[in-house]
Amino acid sequence: MPYPPALNELIEFFEILPEPERRENLINFSEAAKSCGPKEGEQFDLEDVRKDEECTDTVGVFLRVGDDNAAHFAIELGPKVQTLTKAMTAILCKGLNGATPQEVLEVPADFVPRIIGAELVRLRSQTVYYVLGRMKTAVKMLLDRRRAAM
């Protein structure tokens, strides 16, 4: 299953980086996570803001799917979320915005180690997968809601 083009570009960018540059870029993405939240006045079709037991802080997922069938995400993170999760949030926003809902649902999680590198994959870093899961859940909720309204 091919990844959405923007995500694929990010995967290919990260996986050839030497470790220090990979870390540097992950830090830059983690800082960019601040601007992934909803902008003032922006409208969404679905807002899913909650704190799950396995995550250290609240994560809000905001989703809009327009007439062009392209998904647009905004994600808001609580301050206690770890750096790697922040970085993955910004990567996912950049990589999945514009993808179709079906493409988002079909994204396999196996790209995560290719981006963050084997050294940073830890049991306690599993929340890097959590944001992708929440984005997929939001898409599924929205599709179900629209299907029910038909």
Binding site: L26, S30, T83, R124, S125
Partner: protein
């Protein structure tokens, strides 16, 4: 000296943030950051601090164990630490991993070690400086320690079982729901692969967080004695084992008992619940 520290059993085992800010360039010290957040050091750290990663630097990569004497000496050499260097540890999560790194240094007899009271959170909250510049120190010639002294500081599962059978003191420092067996993961963390919930029979519950103030500093000696001496009934010469899930929260409590309260025989069971709760036929108690 910070007046709170003077009351502790080992007053100079802690430094406060003001002292550290004034001593960043003092010769003979090495500041070490150890975190749970793997990239936190890279986002900015105390000027001059080096990064010791609990998993990459302190753990043996194949067997579940710590580095040996050679690995420890190599770690110190890479970071320009000599046997005479005073290592000052700090980190996130109320110093869990800083205390863990401190504890590993004790396995190798590096007693010139201290913790920054309040850790990274307090330093940041006070707006003290952080930098992304990674310092480079000349490699040292740290000698290979003769051995890793597990016997004094560390408990294995079989020793913990014998300890339990002898009715000796054990402190379970996990959250109340982990202790009771209601949950098999730490609150706000993913499941770490434990098959059974509950606690080691005979262990008393004293969550690590009770020893910390909201600003992540340690509570006063009087407050700590109220928990461990008065409530848990621990006596100074008791043989005590502390445990959690993988040994980091219990390093925090081990530090409190040994250095702030002066308990003489305290060991950290680092295998902790991820070992005990998966061990076939290991005795388990449920409930508060």
């Amino acid at each position: 000296m910070n007046p709170k520290f003077a009351a502790y059993a080992t007053p100079d085992i802690l430094v406060d943030t003001d002292w550290l800010a004034a001593n960043l360039n003092t010769p003979g010290i090495r500041i070490v950051e150890s975190n749970e957040d793997i990239l936190l050091y890279d986002t900015g750290h105390i000027p001059g601090a080096v990064h010791i990663d609990w998993r990459r630097d302190l753990n043996e990569e194949t067997v579940r164990d710590y580095v040996g004497p050679e690995g420890f000496a190599d770690l110190c050499r890479r970071n320009g630490i000599t046997p005479d260097t005073t290592v000052i540890f700090y980190g996130d999560k109320s110093n869990w991993w800083a205390a863990y790194a401190f504890w590993v240094f004790q396995l190798f007899g590096h007693t010139k070690a201290k913790l920054l009271d309040g850790g990274r959170d307090k330093w940041e909250a006070e707006g003290k400086p952080l930098t992304r510049e990674v310092p480079k120190y000349p490699a040292s010639d740290y000698p290979v320690p003769a051995k890793r002294d597990d016997a004094t500081h560390r408990a294995y599962a079989a020793q913990t079982l014998a300890h339990m059978n002898a009715g000796k003191k054990m402190v379970d420092v996990r959250s109340p729901k982990e202790f009771s067996g209601e949950v098999t993961h730490m609150p706000e963390y993913p499941q770490e692969g434990v098959l059974r919930g509950g606690h080691i029979p005979g262990a008393r519950s004293a969550p690590w967080s009770r020893a910390a103030n909201p600003d992540k500093t340690f509570k006063s000696r009087e407050e700590l004695e109220a928990i461990y001496r008065d409530e848990l009934g621990l006596k100074t010469d008791d043989d005590i084992i502390a445990y959690c899930r993988i040994g980091e929260r219990s390093s925090h409590t081990w530090f409190v008992l040994k250095y702030l309260l002066g308990y003489q025989h305290v060991r950290n069971y680092d295998g902790s619940w991820t070992e005990w709760g998966n061990t076939v036929r290991a005795p388990v108690a449920k409930g508060a």
